[in-house]
């Protein structure tokens, strides 16, 4: 792949998917600060993997594979003394920001996801991003049936946890 083409593809991928990838990072780590760090690693790996990208593969699946695998390899670190400058909200969608009531539910959802095992955190984040069972199976490498089993277990666990949070017990 030529450098200019690689750069164009990267920028396109970055612009179109940064919000989704960042939400996945945040869902996995439940820390905005660390999510940024992980996000940068994901983007670094996306850049490094672009040469091997086959056009026939679905780009979303390919990108989420990199994001999930980078998250799995991510080691929580103490900061390296490097400040990241916040530049403003991600223009992820035309949708308005969540209402205060929604904020509460979102907080409960995040807290519930945070206590799930690492693998389940990633699967549920993929589901929340709107990936189908088949796409999740393609990202993770497990069968569609097992994705179904996993998701039904995760939903059960989330339900309990979210009830706990809304009753102030979690």
């Amino acid at each position: 792949m030529k450098h200019a083409e690689k750069e164009r593809l990267f920028v396109e991928l970055f612009e179109e998917n940064k919000a989704r990838v960042l939400r996945l990072c945040y869902g996995y780590l439940n820390s905005e600060h660390e999510a940024e760090d992980l996000f940068q690693e994901v983007m670094k790996n996306v850049w490094n993997s672009l040469d091997g990208f086959r056009r026939e593969a679905q780009i979303t699946t390919w990108l989420f594979r990199i994001a999930v695998n980078t998250a799995l390899m991510y080691r929580r670190k103490l900061r390296r003394g490097q400040a990241l400058v916040s530049t403003g909200p991600v223009p992820d969608s035309a949708a308005p920001p969540p209402a205060p009531d929604d904020e509460e539910r979102l907080r409960a959802l995040r807290s519930a996801i945070a206590v799930l095992p690492a693998q389940d955190r990633l699967i549920v984040t993929l589901l929340l991003e709107g990936l189908s069972y088949r796409e999740i199976a393609e990202v993770t490498g497990i069968t569609v049936n097992y994705v179904g089993v996993k998701i039904s277990r995760i939903k059960e666990a989330l339900e309990k946890l979210m009830k706990g949070v809304s009753h102030g017990t979690a």
Binding site: G27, Q40, S49, L72, M73, V90, A95, P98, G141, I142
Partner: protein, 183 residues
């Protein structure tokens, strides 16, 4: 549980702040560079000995033996390091996890028997060199002990770093691998 579509829409409404893509130097690259410099500095005295005692086959043999051992070990180390850093992140996670665990374990195994062989070769080369320099028994013992102690300290530091940083990750990935392997 709330309808999944509702949660999905709520989730996708999240507005997170994103930082600038900071240009930070890769820590691993800095470590690798430092190690290369350390190895080069370590080898300088041996090349000096080689230049000044070129007439002694024992000295030349000993120094070359040490240099060959260091180069062979560092080559094996960097090869494994490269294999870990060049994982295919675009592979399906199940396959990715299996490869990552295998490569990290392989990298750690280098510091078992192969490292002891490396230390043995270093000590043998050192004593050969000292023999060529007509050193006394005390010098043989002191330098041998010095190399052994340095290698032991290095090994301990590495073990500590491994237990703190890599082992938890390997355990977590291995647990996932087990969970996914039968499916």
């Amino acid at each position: 549980m709330e309808q999944l579509e509702e949660l999905q829409s709520l989730w996708q409404k999240q507005r997170l702040l994103i930082g600038e893509m900071a240009r930070y130097q890769d820590k691993q690259l800095r470590i690798a560079t430092a190690k290369t410099v350390a190895v080069a500095v370590f080898l300088i005295p041996f090349f000096w000995i080689l230049a000044n005692y070129a007439h002694s086959p024992l000295v030349v043999g000993g120094v070359l033996w040490i240099a060959a051992s260091v180069i062979a070990f560092m080559f094996a180390y960097w090869k494994r390091q490269f294999r870990v850093s060049s994982l295919d992140f675009a592979a399906p996670s199940r396959e990715f996890i299996a490869t990552a665990v295998a490569r990290m374990k392989e990298q750690h195994r280098l510091f078992g028997v192969p490292f002891l062989v490396f230390v043995g070769c270093m000590i043998a080369g050192l004593n050969l060199t000292l023999l060529g320099l007509s050193a006394g028994l005390a010098e043989h013992l002191i330098y041998t002990a010095e190399v052994a102690v340095f290698c032991w300290i290095g090994l301990r530091i590495r073990e500590r770093c491994f237990r703190r940083e890599s082992q938890p990750l390997i355990d977590q990935l291995a647990a996932m691998e087990d969970d996914l392997a039968t499916r």
